[in-house]
Amino acid sequence: MARFLARFFAQARFIVGALALLFVVTLGPVSAQQQPTSVNPTASAVKEDELLRQMRIISGRGTIPDAQSYNLEQPAGREWREFHQVTLPWIGAIAVLGMLALLVGFYLWRGMVKIERGRSGRTIVRFNAFERFTHWVTASCFIVLAISGLNITFGKSLLLPLLGPEAFTAWSQWGKYAHNYLSFPFTIGVVLIALIWITGNIPNKTDVEWLKRGGGMVGNDHPPAYRFNAGQKMIYWIVILGGTAVAVSGYLLMFPFYGTTVAGMQLAQIVHGIVGVLFVAAMLAHIYIGTIGMEGAFEAMGTGTVDENWAKQHHALWLTEEQARTGPNASQSQGQARAAATPAE
């Protein structure tokens, strides 16, 4: 038994020794060769896919002053592209063309709203020179801003094929300058409009009544109104709120990256584009009522005076107020002066 064990241990020692030798000879060099290739020095480094899942903009640090250049990748640009190429043109086309179609249809159905009792020949001051100046500064700026703005969205598909690349660029370049510089008088105009007409544009109970009775545009009813009826108040607030929105977003676009990032600039453009086209649509309606939509309306902003019968029909409460304040003779004498001037116009 003891001899058997001794032989076993001797053999085992030999086997273990041979195995150890084999291990040193074979595995040693193999592991020495494999070790460097299995180590990835950047294994812990950030991966693009992970970063794209984690954040909308992959950004880091750069060595040049331009902070915008530290953004490595912003796939969100694709969403903005979708907005600019698809969403905005649809909103714009529906708003502007829809409003035009609506106005044409309305005109064909209703025609010009006449002064029912005809002109009295007596006039009353509706807007003084400063009010008219403010209105027309803002309005003329708005028309240029609207055309140059629509050109940025629709010019490429509508005007570029007609004008050719060079002429279209020259036109768009001037459009850009006009859009940038006229934004200042436009903004001043909106601020002045806000100040000079805020009294009279606060919604009240008369407006509810006026709206219930169709405002005199739908049907032949003539609900009484003070200086501004509910429709005009709506235009006022569209100008104030819409004007503020386009001004703020516009100045953000005009002074790029002053406190904004690329995401902020995209958002500013989205707000500017949507509010812009809706603003244009609303102003088309405003222009319609102020011109071919209603007899005797344009002169309020033209000469500043309106016919008394027009005022009675559309702003009865205002006329009463004014006559109580100035006395009927004031408008009478003014009316006679106007009547003498009328044939020449």
Binding site: E48, L51, L72, E73, P75, G77, R81, M265
Partner: protein
């Protein structure tokens, strides 16, 4: 024709900024404009990585899509170029670009933008090849001389590759197989809607 692409092997980029310098010098790019730059993510922290980035010359380029004056065009080599005579400096291409490539010279106060400038893949612009007018607006037209973009040619670690997309992808794949790792072609999914398996 080749389909030209850039490929930055991020595992090799050491943020030496030679590509940035080479580009600025070769094209005499004005102060304040960088057609190429190196961005370091997680700088000084574990997991740091540097990537050299310029215009990727995207397939279906977003800049070209949103441009209101159609200033962009794509060459036969699939390089996305633009005409400074058509550009009005509206800045829209920068909002759409996934890689922040478009740059604008400041021509007035408060950051008002001049005509856009970006990487041309060293392929100039619409003017005649290697003319002075082309150089003044877009820099050297190395492609017309049969040379590849200088940024990649100068790269000290050959991290930045430029050339036909299939060839540089093949080079990158061989590297990955040989060294056993690779972090993928940064930006390719966004620019070309494809990735290199690694």
């Amino acid at each position: 024709m080749a389909r030209m692409k850039f490929l930055c092997d991020a595992d090799r980029c050491i943020e030496c900024n030679a590509c940035v310098t080479a580009c600025k010098n070769e094209h005499e790019v004005p102060w304040g404009i960088n057609r190429r730059r190196v961005v370091t993510i997680n700088d000084g922290k574990p997991g740091e990585r540097s990537i050299s980035m310029a215009c990727m010359h995207c397939t279906d380029a977003p800049c070209a899509a949103v441009c209101p004056t159609n200033a962009f065009y794509t060459t036969a080599d699939a390089v996305v170029l633009h005409s400074k005579d058509i550009c009005i400096g509206c800045g829209y291409c920068f909002y759409a670009c996934p890689f922040g490539a478009p740059q604008y010279p400041k021509v007035g106060n408060f950051g008002s933008r001049g005509k856009m400038d970006k990487c041309t893949y060293c392929a100039g612009g619409p003017e005649g090849d290697s003319t002075k007018a082309e150089f003044d607006k877009y820099g050297t037209n190395r492609l017309a001389q049969g040379k590849l973009p200088l940024c990649a040619e100068m790269c000290s670690t050959k991290s930045l590759l430029a050339g036909d997309g299939d060839i540089i992808a093949q080079i990158y794949k061989e590297r990955v197989v040989k060294r056993g790792y690779g972090s993928g072609a940064w930006g390719w999914k966004t620019a070309y809607k494809e990735t290199i398996a690694s």
